[in-house]
């Protein structure tokens, strides 16, 4: 502390001399040669075992999952080299040979069992994600996982960052999480709260060794500031950059390389279907869906960084049912729906029983495109005759209101295709009994389809089941799909070999190098 005060005093003296002295040309910290400095949107919390934060471990490549997703969103071997469904509720995984953890311990079936059991005990969400009943070791390199219900999506769920495999030394004697120790190409080095997390190359990595020696994750929460710090040379790579900057940096001669990757992420608006709320009536929900011009939002508000979303899943992933129903911009249909629901348009505003159709929209500003999309949606609905008001929070702030049902609509971002299986997001968001279904939407037929779908192997039956489920969601319209996200990042020209993963959850710096 004394040292810090001394530091401050020295600095103040330097500052006082600043106007007369020469400009501090080297005042900006520049990255070293084999170190990649990344400006991130979220703070990396390597000591937190909290569900929302755990994905950092995938981004940082400290941990490996049993199964991985390639750039085409296909399942590929991770720590498991093969997997097989033995019965509707039973899977066998064969583990990779010769893998060691960062602490030198070998990876075997016992270690994997320990890690999965620890994580599911600490994070209830992970348990329900895997639908875990029992894990048993049948051979040093063979693991048997039994699920409570028939569950075909298990290998897909095992690509989720939350299921990364930890060494025993990541936990203390009481089983509490202490520090990240995994098998990935990078090992944890240091962490400074609110500032940075550093990982270093792990020379005992089982795959091809990365060329970078060190990766520094700097926490820069302000969206514009991430790009600015790239431009001032403080960082090599800025992720989740705002659309306006994508456009500016893409211009020839900017000296930066911009990366865009259509992804599995979706911005959408959830409508509160509880009684007494304006969207209790399905016709009002359909009307809103027909009112919003997604193409205008993407092309103008987002400078083309995104794809208009008219349905929950982005078409183009080969496991998505082909005959998906979609909404369309149709002001006439919106008018007839609202009229049927008992509203009348008076002086440009929709009214019912003398009261305007008022909608309070909640949203949060911590995601790059979120404020732009929310503002555009609110403005478009206002122009269509609804009385909208918007409240911005952070994600947890909004969630606490949403959980209590205190809203008419909220705008949210999820990654419905994250594990390349429809179950991951359909079940928790639309099943009546699930944890994230906060908008009061219930449909017993849909519940049945969702439970049946997760037991089915890929094939025409699964295709038909999910097509039927998505049709029901489309008809009941509990949500308004808005924009399929395009992930955008930028680097300086020295960075080579970077590619954005379409899941939005992996950085993959193994192949990155700096010239």
């Amino acid at each position: 502390m004394t040292k810090k005060i001394l530091h401050a005093a020295l600095m103040a003296a330097a500052l006082a001399a600043l106007p007369v002295g020469s400009p501090p040309a080297h005042a900006i910290e520049k990255p070293e040669k084999d170190t990649l400095v990344v400006a991130t949107m979220w703070e990396c919390l390597p000591f937190s075992m909290e569900a929302r934060r755990s994905r950092f471990f995938n981004e940082s490549e400290i941990l490996d999952t049993l199964v991985k997703l390639d750039y085409g969103m296909n399942l590929v071997p991770g720590l498991a080299t093969a997997w097989k469904r033995q019965s509707p509720t039973e899977w066998t995984f064969t583990l990779r040979q010769g893998v060691t953890f960062h602490d030198g311990q070998p990876l075997d079936a016992e270690a994997v069992k320990f890690s999965l059991e620890r994580v599911t005990a600490l994070l209830p969400y992970a348990g329900s994600l895997l639908d875990l009943a029992e894990i048993s070791v049948t051979a040093p390199d063979t693991l048997n996982i039994r699920t409570k219900q028939p569950f075909a999506a298990l290998p897909n769920q095992l690509t989720d960052a939350i299921t990364g495999i930890y060494a025993r030394s990541a936990f203390d004697a009481e089983g509490k999480f202490v520090k990240p120790v995994g098998t990935g190409p990078f090992r944890y080095a240091s962490y400074t709260k609110q500032d940075r997390t550093v990982v270093e190359r792990f020379d005992g990595y089982w795959g091809k060794a990365p060329s970078l020696k060190r990766v520094v994750y700097r926490y820069v929460p302000d969206h514009s500031a991430r790009v600015l710090s790239l431009e001032t040379g403080e960082v090599d790579l800025a992720v989740d950059i705002p659309p306006a900057d994508v456009k500016r940096l893409s211009a020839a001669g900017s000296g930066f390389q911009v990366y865009r990757e259509p992804s599995a992420g979706l911005y959408y608006m959830v409508l509160n279907t509880a009684a007494g709320r304006p969207f209790a009536d399905v016709r009002a929900r359909r009307a809103v869906n027909a009112m919003i011009d997604r193409k205008a939002i993407v092309e103008h508000a987002l400078d083309g960084v995104g794809k208009p979303a008219w349905q929950f899943f982005a078409p183009g992933f080969d496991w998505v049912p082909s005959e998906l129903p979609a909404y369309a911009l149709d002001p006439a249909a919106a008018t007839s729906d609202l009229t049927a629901a008992g509203f009348r348009k008076e002086g440009g505003a929709w009214m019912k029983d003398g009261k305007p159709l008022a909608v309070e929209i909640l949203s949060y500003s911590s995601r790059t495109e979120m404020p732009l999309i929310t503002e555009a949606v609110s403005g478009l609905l206002k122009a269509a005759g609804l009385q909208t008001s918007t409240k911005m929070f952070t994600w947890p702030g909004m969630l606490s209101l949403v959980q209590k049902g205190q809203y008419d609509a909220y705008v949210v971002f999820w990654t419905p295709e994250m594990t390349a299986h429809p179950d991951l997001h359909l079940l928790p968001h639309f099943h009546s009994a699930s944890g994230l279904d906060y908008n009061g939407y219930r449909n017993a037929q849909l519940d049945d389809l969702l439970i049946r779908g997760r037991g089915l192997d890929a094939g025409p039956e699964r295709q038909a089941t999910y097509a039927k489920a998505l049709t029901l969601v489309h008809e009941d319209a509990p949500i308004v799909p808005l924009v399929h996200k395009i992930y955008a990042a930028a680097t300086n020209t020295a960075v080579k070999g970077f590619r954005i993963h379409p899941s939005g959850f992996f950085y993959d710096f193994k192949s990155v190098r700096k010239d």
């Binding site: 005060i5 500052l15 900006i28 919390l45 909290e50 820069v220 947890p396 209101l401 944890g435």
Partner: protein, 308 residues
């Protein structure tokens, strides 16, 4: 002196009651929010919530709850942040340190500008220095800090490329925020120093010093300034209160992890344990600063010891 300490203590107790009451006045059931957090985001059933409330003492008289909360703070275990899962003290300790660092740097900038300008403005009334102090004071009062910060970012980071835009961890990160707060305070401080020095200059002993043939600079720095110290220290104490208002905004803009930004974050994240403790800690720091200023004034000027 004892009375002054007693007052501070009373204020501290009032403050703790206020920050306790705050969370209970927040919209939403605090117990329910706490339980939702513990259950990993699931909405609790009514009977579970009722049991939780009974077990955790949420149905006790409010006075009991307050005393228990105060006890947990004094024992240093005020709970865990909803957001990061870290201990609330760990969250706040670092932040307070950073804010004090920023405050010290800002005051240093402010004084480095205000002392020379103020003294020369007093010595040469109507001169360039005098006008400069005036201009700085007017601008410092009329320019909103949040806008000023953005303009500084545009000039020093975007156009000149000298200083980083935002962040923390390297010494250059404090420069822009300290410049913003420091320069916006400098004008009014300079005006105040000017009037204090003017006041002292008109007194007898200064005239005596002049007549003894001492040079002007020596009179100003050797006699006038030290004698104007008491009101200046008092003013600095008052300014720290004003300064924090700027700190909240400036920390938010420059992503400086101080207690002001934590306060704003905890509001928008509805992170109640952190918010509650922020209020308590900020208040306690203020009470301490005010007390220190009073004691400092006493030490500089023994004449007013009796007056306290």
């Amino acid at each position: 002196m004892l009375r002054r300490l007693g007052q501070s203590l009373a204020l501290l107790i009032l403050l703790s009651m206020f920050s306790f009451a705050l969370v209970h006045a927040m919209p939403g059931d605090f117990a329910e929010l706490l339980l939702i957090e513990r259950m990993g985001g699931d909405l609790p059933a009514r009977d579970v919530l009722a049991r939780f409330k009974a077990e955790e003492g949420f149905n006790d008289p409010i006075v009991h709850q307050y005393l228990r909360w105060l006890g947990s703070i004094l024992r240093g275990e005020p709970g865990v942040s909803f957001q990061s899962g870290d201990s609330v003290w760990a969250e706040i300790g670092l932040r307070v340190e950073n804010t004090l660092l920023l405050a010290a740097a800002s005051i240093a900038v402010s004084l480095a500008l205000a002392v020379p300008i103020g003294v020369f403005a007093a010595a040469r009334r109507g001169s360039v220095w005098d006008r400069l102090s005036m201009l700085l004071a007017v601008l410092g009062m009329a320019i909103p800090n949040f806008w000023y910060s953005l303009i500084m970012v545009m000039v020093f980071s975007l156009f000149l490329g000298w200083l980083p835009v935002s962040g923390y961890g390297h010494w250059t990160h404090i420069v822009l925020p300290a410049l913003v707060i420091g320069t916006s305070m400098a004008g009014i401080t300079a005006r105040f120093i000017r009037s204090c020095v003017l006041d002292v200059l008109s007194r007898d002993f200064v005239r005596t010093a002049h007549s003894k043939g001492l040079g002007e600079i020596r009179v100003l720095l050797g006699h006038a300034l030290p004698n104007a110290l008491v009101p200046i220290v008092t003013l600095l104490g008052l300014q720290i209160g004003k300064m924090f208002d700027g700190v909240v905004v400036v920390e938010t803009i420059f992503a400086w992890p101080g207690i002001g930004r934590l306060l704003v974050e905890s509001i928008f994240s509805r992170d109640f344990p952190v918010l509650q403790l922020c209020v308590l800690v900020i208040g306690a720091v203020y009470i301490a600063v005010n007390l220190t200023v009073d004691l400092l004034v006493m030490a500089i000027d023994p004449r007013i010891r009796g007056a306290l």
